[in-house]
Every structure is written in structure tokens, then in C-alpha cells.
Symmetry: D3
Subunit: 250 residues, 6 copies
């Protein structure tokens, strides 16, 4: 199976982390390629950033779609683009937030998300509500650190902040499982699990493994209603690859 | 007051409808300009279309921001771009779905939305849930017609389909107020209201009038947490106007 | 447009505050009259008080209905009487809680209400739930002060208590917008907004401006189901003006 | 034990029905008196009617409070006055809707309410939500008949309409228990239960029996927060009995 | 009326407490027998314990069913066995959690449960959600003590821990009523009520009194859908009394 | 990896179906053993049946636990025993309902469950609510057929009934994904998927594949709070294997 991991930001360090995690957890028969869009922000720390990443992410998907069997969009923001891609392909596309949250619910009664800057607290609570799993969410906690601090700072300091919030989620909020709420936290899962004594999920690994599961069981997204193929229409000022989608989906 | 109405699709006919409604309902002291992005889809009938409209919509906003006091994004899909714009400006930005739904709740116990193709039923139910108003929503009904049919077909046929669904919402679902679920339905509100005997809301007019209210009362979006200014970062392959935002928001 | 503001308590000081806010925010073409019932409690600090204000409030409405185009019931308790009046008139009637809460949701993701004595915490949470907006409500906080303290105490002390709770709502509960939860707090909005740096809403101004919006857009309450005209019946021991309503609504 | 049943409308026929049911189900040691206010509407078919019944209901309560141990407000509309009375007395006060709905949940997974005119569908759904039991409510169904038809029509016709809706609730909505949604339906419970083969609850009997249970177990309403005693204040234009409440509750 | 109280654990001390409470609160005409299964755990402190009590509890029910008119399953864990028994009998069966929680909602706006070890916090929140009453639940608090400590420790220490948590529920969580969340706390209700000044409910007494109410009003569980009689089938390796149920329910 | 599938009923035909599905979908490196308890009902069609299967299911688990790495409890009823087993082991245990429902949510916006007799409609809606995923559930539909009909009837007839309800779920309820709501439906998934054109999930396969995923990613249930090890206590009248659990979990 060939999986394309689209990191919708342009941080090469993120790609390396994802690549390392993929190497560690993918089945031997799975080939994983991690890629960033050619255009867009260096990190996704809010909706403006996400908005700027949309077009580039679709572009990179369209360029590579034919060569892969499944796709991860490796941003914990419940990106709009996941739903756009599901419309234009019959192959499975997963976001890393939904993947980790659903698996978390199979491992414990209540989960918490630990993420970066404060804006994500309301935004991820909204995403959890959209997934339908608000009753299972003990809390969304933020470290107050920026996404790119995950690289720039000594990892010890960042890891310590994540651990502090995760511990508070367990002790104060009743969390039984922790979800790492940023692709840049990839690789911390088992270290933190060791310290906390509760399951800690890396959303990227979760989506990677779920795509393998989908392939083995022959699962694909539903193509009626929400993810039905887009209706053909005139596009202005956009590369022709964007409208080729319509004929392909006929 | 100067209001910029961004129709995120490129349909000139939509712009004319919005312009007509603006002329009818704006205060004499309000100046309204309706504009489409230079690039993007002719209509927004799903998330792929919305995704393709994002960049163009931000661009047109950035080009005109300084000359206007308030902004409408005239698409009923609860566009992501509304939230992106709120991050990068201190001036009010409204979507037409949220505007009509909140006003509907002040006019009756239960409202229904009547919109175009079937995909919008799950998507708009999700938007209503995100706004928090699911308990007030009797139903989301679709005519099965396409957005651009709102122009191409004899308007009588389209209007009849909308009326049929709106009537069913009232008779079968317990709706006391109807929200027209597409910017292209602008202008049908009072005609339908006459026929049904219940309030019918044109989301565009709702957001236009709410922006006037915001100005008169001095209301602006909150700039903490969800709509806080974006954090400065490197952008790749994007026009420099997108990164000028960061210095402006410092 | 002529707006009647019914302050359902008999405090003249309240009326003066409301009058002042009306003068500040009403359009030049809007005429506002603030009035209290002839009978009832000096303040509304619970359901017993509200119950005692019901009959007087309807009376004053019936006396003046013909001369006005819209009505505010200026009590933050989600008064039953708002719904009673909607049954007996075709003209718009707004409560100040619903007005401010819906506008708050257009300005930020989460709002909090700051009100007076502790009883209002469960009661206003119930009201928010009834409006359907519980998922948007960060908290209801109380100062522990009494309604009439809003006049009697040095305003500085009261304002300080409101500021303290509003700040806690922002810092601890994640509120992005504050609603002042008592008509007697009218006039504090912009002062507090200045201090907190987040939007602060005076429910009275919100409902006043919404009534103007309703008039300009031609909006009226739905008259089916919930607010349908009352069914004619025998009334005992009540002034004949109460039964004249039936013939008028035929 | 002495129970005062306040029928907040002025229909003598209602009182007779309630009296009959009380005679059938009260313990031998329970003394029941059914009474109407001196002023108010002949029936309660909406919020305007309820509003007009408020003052008279409180008056009759104040006149008789000392001689009784518990109180029923025999109207299925979740009357505001129940909550007002709980503030001003330490003796238990029950509404008939809450009483029947809570008992219904102990008898089956899902209940439905069958009531009179259509307005009650949204209003009783709101009441159920306020009680917190919306997840247990299969439906609120209305016969379209008026409250006083419960007397005037041949009872057979009315009973048939109730039976039709109750059957539909069972067959189509998944109801396992039926609540009769009007005090005027008192006496139909066991007849309908016989026909439908599912439990049918008369809210009046439920509240009567619960008051006996409260007495036997020594239960009284909580007097903190929501039902705390009213704060003393000036009353204008109201009989002095209304302000005597304050000194009594000190 | 004859009521069988099945304490699903094998603690004789529990039985004595229940017996004492029954003596105190049952009507003179009610005969109460408290019994434990012949097999099972000494206390129920989790789902494993509950699972081991299931078969013994059904056995003891089948042995005694004919001689009693109503049944209490005296464990606060919302035991599965309550629902199993409702399938196989037409006589009323009540759990003590549901009984106390529904009565609590008739006494105050918000209730809290105070129980023993920490696991019950998520489990009882789940039960409350299942009953549909989550919106009325201020909190579930645990003392951290074990069930059998309720006997072994000086009762003073245990009572102090319960009081501490109950007080915190009132002061910090907004609880207006307290439910004692363990059958072993039977007998503390009125003592704690005295100290806290808010109603405190012993779930066992609640269910006992509700069964008396059921009998007096002629209430029985619904026998359609959820509690319909079990469908006859082959049983392997189980005493024949378990399959006699099928023929009886034909 | 070695997976033990416990079919909690004693139907050998079920075991054969599960065995066949395991052979089709398990990885080559996975060894699967399907087993039934020695005692219990031939099918699980309600809570009484489930209750009778509890002890036997725990017994068979205890007998085999050491030789396996993961466990499926192959009954769609959200069995209590799943939670009991999670307390007494550190190895993963999955139910088939939760497994299929979470995966369904990753494949479409709304899912429906199609199951056997009518009682499961309220019971499975309750289970879905407990998992937290009610907002994603379009409907629970029942064929009205009995569990064992899945074998006895010509499979064509049963399959036709399932197809009819699944189609209605898609056409009328807005389902985008179908979950087969009974272990006995194992093997119909891909046939039905072919006919309906939407994803159809066999809960057994889902849990089998998730256990493989858990192993590959090193996931185990959280052992704090809800699934913490049981507290040691005296057991009466039960085989000693049940109390050996306590020492093992120390």
C-alpha cells in the first residue's frame, strides 16, 4: 500500500518527524511519502494560516493522487481540505485529529487533547463537537507555546510543558487517554505514555495505521451526500488541474 | 458606513441580486459594494468549491479592506474564510448563514433552512450545530436544484420548489420561520413570506443590516482567543499582500 | 419608528438609565419612551418578583400598544411576559437577554453573562439553554450584589464587582464577549469594554437596535404555533382590557 | 396530610375532575382541597392565559398556605408560578407536568405527551428540555382540540382523539409510556391504559402521590440558590399580603 | 404490599442498614424483606464486581418473585440486572440511583451525587446521562473511600468525608440537592441534611417509597419495546429456573 | 498476534461465521480462535439474555487469557462484560458495536445501524449515546426478525429484510454508512455494500482489525479510573478463578 502524507505547512522539520514515525509504525508492505505544498505558511496556528494552505494542499494532492492508495492530511486543525479531498477522490483521506480522537475513545472513557497556542482550545472543542464526541472529551489544554517552538526550543522544555498539561488533564479533568494535538508533537507519544501511565496518541500514527486497516478491510469513504463528487462548473483564474477533477468524477 | 459584500463565487448574476437587495434595504447613509474574487468557482456547491474560493476571497478582502467599515461574505456555507478574515481585521465580518439563523431565533421558536442540492443538508446541520442553535432548528430542507439553476431556470420553477420545501418545513417539521439557504435566493424573501404567512429571511439582508447595527452601537468582533491576530510566520509562494497582514496586526 | 421600553420593575432610576442609553444609541428617527407598570416590585430579583410584575406589565402594554411600533421588555430574566405579549400583538417584542446573547454569538465564540445575586446563575443558564445557545456560553457569573445596589452603592464599588467577575469570565472561563446581565447595568458597557479589551453588551441597547433593524427589514414575529393569537375565553375578575385582546386578534 | 390543589384556571368542571381523582387515589389520611383563583382565565391554552393566571394563583396560595402541608399547581404548562411559590414557602409545591414526566421515566425508556392545541407542542418540548429529560421524550403530540372541549364535547370524541394520538406515539414514535398533557384529561388514564396496553399517567395523580411520598420521607424543596427566599423590597399597587411574604421568609 | 429488597452484594451489614431504613420509612401496611444473593462479591466497587453479582441476583429474584409485589435492587451502580428483571416480570423493579435522581430533580434545580471510590465518577456520570438527566447534575463527587469502609471505619470518619464532598458540591458546583451514591450510606441522609441545610436523599428509601406509590396508583413498567418479555430460547449449563421464565412470560 | 473471539452466546453457527470472516480479513500473522462460553443462552436478544451470558463469558476469558494478546466480545449489544474484562486485564478488549461505530464515523457524516428485533432500537440508541456518537447516528432500524433466523431462514429472506431497512436508512434517514447490528450478520457486509453503494461495516471485522492496529501501534486500554483493576474482596459461591484475578492485578 502506498500512503501520501500531506503536511499542509511548509516546515521540513515536521516532514522529518512524520517520516520517522512512519518508518517506525508502518507495515513493511506500506510505502509512505511525506510531502508539503509548494506554497503556504510555515506553520498552521489559526484559521488564516489554514486558509492559506488550502490551495497548495489540493494542488499537491492532485499532482500525486494517482500514485497513492490513501492520504493523510497531517494537521490537527480538522482541516477543511480533508472534506474537499473526500469529494474529489474515491480513495481514503484521513485527518489526524479525527483519527486519534476515535481511537482514544476505544481506549478509555474520557480523553483530553494537549495542543499549542490558546486559540486551539475553542477551535478544537468545536472540532470535537463536529465529530460528535464532545461527551467523551475531558478537556482541551494548551501549552501556550507556538507550533514552531516544537523545533526551535530545546525539546526538553516543550516536552515538559506538554507533560505538565497532560498531567493536569489526568489529575484535574478526569482524562484517561491523551491525544497530542499537533503534528509537530509526533514522536512524543510513547515517551509521555511512559511518564503518565496512560495511553498517549500521536494522531499521525493513528491515521497511518487506520489507512492500512481501511485497505485490508476494503473500506472507503461513502460517496453519497456529504462526500459526493463535486458538480462540474466554470473555474476562473485557477490552474486547469482543478477542473480536470470534474471530468474524472463523472 | 461603507460595506463590502464579497460574493465568494464568480457569478455576476449573484452580484446583481445582492446589489438589488442592498439598494432596497441599506440605510441611505450606507454605501454598499458587491464584488467577486478574481479567481474561483462560478458557484459554491460543496466543500471543494468552497476550498477553491478561499484564496481569492482573502485576496479581494486585502485589496479593499482599508476602504470599508464592514464585510459580508455572501455564501450560506458558513465559509471558513469568515473566520480567517476575523483574525486579520478589527472590522466586523459576517457570514449570511449565521446572520439569518440568529435573527430567525428572535422571530420564532423553531426555524428551518431551505437550500439547494442535497449535500447541504448534512453540512448546514453541522453549521447550525457549530453556531450552537441546533435545538432551535426544525429541519434543513433541499430542493435538489443546483445553485446556478437559481438563474438559469425560469425563476418560477425554482421559486416553486423552494416554496414546496418551505411549506413542508412549516406543515411537517414545525418551522415558524424560514431561512433562505443560498445567496442566490436573495430577493425571494418577501414574496415567499407573503405566500407562507411566516417570516422568511434573506441571509444577505440580515448580515447587511446587522453590520449597520454593529456600527451604530460600536460593536466589533472579540480579538482574544478564537479571532486573535495571526502569529507572524514565513509564507512561501504567496503574494506579499498575505504576509503584510502580520505587521499590520502587530 | 416609535419604541416602547417597558421596565417591568418600578424603579425610576432604572428608567433614567434606559432613557439615557436610548438617547445615546437610537437613530434620530426613532422615538423611545421608557415606562414602568403602575403596580409591581421595585426590582426583579427572582421568580416571585417576576410573577408579581406580570399583570402590570401586560396592562401597561395594552394601554400603549397602539401608539408604538416595537416593544422592549427591559428585564434580563427572560420574562414570561415577552412570550405572552408576542401572542397578543403582531408588532415585535424583544427581551434584553435574548437580544444580547444572540448578538454576542456574532462577535465571539464564547460569551459569559455577569449578573447580580446568585439565584440568577441557575436561572440564566436555563434561559440560555432555552434560547438554544448553551454550547456558546462560557459561564454565568454573579457579583452577589443586589439589583438596587446598582443605584444605591457608589457605582464605583458595583462596577468594580462586575469588572472582577467579567475579568474572571475572560481569564478563567474562556469568554470572548461579556453580556451585562441586568437592565440596571445599562451604561457600563463601553466603560467595561475599555477595561477588558473584549466586547461588552448592554442587552437594552441590543434590543433597541434590533427593533430598528426589524423595522427597516420589515421583520415581525411568526404568528403560527408558539406565538399564535390567544384563543378567546371567559376571564374572571380582570379588567376588560385583557379580554379586548381576543376580538382584536380574531 | 392536607394538600391544596390549585387549578390555576377558573373552570369548575376541572375542579370536579381533580376532586374525583383525588378521592380515588389519595391515602385515607390525606385531605385534599381543590380550588381556583378568584380571577383569571377559564382555561390555560397559551402563555397569555398563563400570565393572566399568575397573580390570582399566588393570591389563593397566600390565603391558604398556613392550613396545608403541600401544594399542587394543576396545569400541565410548567407554570412559572410553581417556581414563584417555591421561593416563598418551605412546603413542597409540585407541577403536574414535572411529576408525570419523572415517574414516566421510571416506567419505560421513552415517553410521549398527548395534549390539546398545537401551541403546546413547542412549549412542552421546551418544558421537557428544562426538566432535562429531552433524551427520554419520544414526542409531544396534540389533538388539535381546545382545553374546554374536554368538557363540552361528548367525552367519547375527545377521548378518541387522545387515543388516536397516543397510539401513534406508541406505534410511530417509540413511546413506551404516555403522559396525559392537560389537567382536564384527569380520569382518562386507566381507561386509555386498558386500550393501549402501556402505562398512562395522569399528572395530577402523580403530583398528589408524590406529595404524600415527600411527607412520608420528610422531603422538602431545597432553599438555596434557585428557590431561595425572595429578597425584601418595595411593592407598588399590590395587596399587602404579597409583601407579608418577605417578613415571613426572613 | 410486600417489597423484596435485593442487595446484590453479600454484605450482611448492608442488609441491616437497609432493614433499619425500611423500618423507619415504610408504611405500616408495607412488609419489607432484605436479601442478598447466595453467590457474588462482598461489595460492588466496579463493573467486574457487578458482573459477578448478576447471576446470583437473578436467582434470588426468581426464587422469591411470586411472594412479593415490588422489587428494589439496592446498588447505586445502575445495575444491568434491573433491566433484565423488568423483562421477566410484570411487577415493578427499581434501582436506587434512578429513584433518588428523579426525586432530587423535583426538589431542586441541580443535584450532585456523593459516592465512594473514584471509578464511580465516570460510571455514574454515564448512568445520569442514560437516565437523561445530565443537564440537572452539578457533579459526581467521590470520597476515595472503599464501600466496605462504610462499615469498617469509625462511621464518623466516613461521614466526615461524605460531608466534605457534599459541602463542596453545594459551595463549588452549585448543587441544591445531594444524592448519597451508595446503598451503604443508608441512614446518613437526615444527619447530613441537618448539617448542610439542603435535601439529602437515600436512594434506597426513595425506591421503597416509589414502589408504594406505584402500588397505590397502580403503576407498572411498560412491557413493550425495552422491557418486553424475553424471547424463548435454549439455555445451556444453567439451572432450569432460568428457562421457566420463558413459559411464564408467554 | 493471537486474538480470542468470545461469542457470548452458544450458537455454533455464529462461531462458524465469525471464523470465516476472521480467515478472510485477519493478517497472515494473526491467529484467531472463536469460542463460546460453556453456559448461557443460544442467542442474545435482550438484557435478560445478556445477563445470563455474563458469568460464562468471564469464565471463558479467564481460562484463555494468558494465551492471547487481544479479545473480541462478539455481541452487538454493548455488553457489560467488555467493561468488566477491561478491569481485569491489561490486554485490549473490544466490543463489536463500538468498533464499527467509530470506524463508520471516519467513512461518512451519518451512519445507521440495522439490527434484528425491535427491542434493540432503544437499547442501541442508548449504546450510541454512551459512546458519545449520537449526533452522528441517522437511525437504528430493526428487521423485526429474530437473531437465530439469521441461520434458520433461507439467508435470502433475512438478507432481503436487512437490505430493505438499510436502503430506507440511506434514502429516508440520511445514512451515508451502514453498520450491521448483529454478530450473526457477519459475512453480509460486502454483499450489501455492493447493492447499496455505501460502505457497510461488519463490527466483528472492525474489532479484529482494530486489535491488530492496537498491537502494531502498541495501544492498550487506560488503566486509571474507569478500567482500573478491581479492588480485592471476598467472593461467595463462585469458582476460585474469579478471585485469582485480584492477586494478579495487584
Amino acid at each position: 500500500m502506498k500512503i501520501l502524507v500531506i503536511n499542509p505547512n511548509t516546515s521540513e522539520e515536521f516532514n522529518q518527524k512524520l517520516d520517522k514515525a512512519a518508518k517506525e509504525y508502518a507495515l513493511p508492505s506500506t510505502e509512505v511519502k511525506v510531502i508539503s505544498p509548494k506554497s503556504g505558511p510555515k506553520s498552521i496556528e489559526g484559521i488564516y494560516d489554514e486558509a492559506l494552505s488550502v490551495q497548495g494542499t489540493i494542488e499537491v494532492f492532485l499532482d500525486w493522487e494517482n500514485e497513492f492508495d490513501g492520504f493523510v492530511v497531517a494537521c490537527y486543525s480538522d482541516p477543511l481540505v480533508v472534506y474537499a479531498l473526500r469529494e474529489i477522490t474515491r480513495k481514503p483521506v484521513l485527518g489526524i485529529a479525527e483519527a486519534s480522537i476515535h481511537l482514544a475513545c476505544l481506549l478509555g472513557n474520557q480523553f483530553s487533547i494537549v495542543t499549542t497556542n490558546d486559540r486551539w482550545a475553542p477551535l478544537l472543542r468545536e472540532a470535537v463537537k463536529k465529530y460528535g464526541l464532545e461527551p467523551r472529551c475531558a478537556s482541551v489544554r494548551t501549552t501556550g507555546l507556538r507550533v514552531l517552538d516544537l523545533e526551535r526550543e530545546g525539546e526538553g522544555a516543550v516536552e515538559k510543558a506538554i507533560e505538565r498539561e497532560a498531567l493536569a488533564a489526568v489529575k484535574e479533568d478526569g482524562a484517561e487517554v491523551i491525544c497530542l494535538g499537533c503534528a509537530g508533537m509526533s514522536g512524543f507519544d510513547k515517551i509521555l505514555e511512559q511518564k503518565l501511565g496512560v495511553p498517549v496518541l500521536d494522531g499521525f500514527v493513528c491515521s497511518l495505521k487506520l489507512l492500512e486497516l481501511f485497505q485490508q478491510y476494503g473500506l472507503k469513504h461513502s460517496k453519497i451526500l456529504t462526500y459526493a463528487a463535486p458538480l462540474s462548473k466554470e473555474l476562473t483564474g485557477l490552474s486547469s488541474r482543478f477542473s480536470r477533477v470534474y471530468s474524472k468524477n463523472k
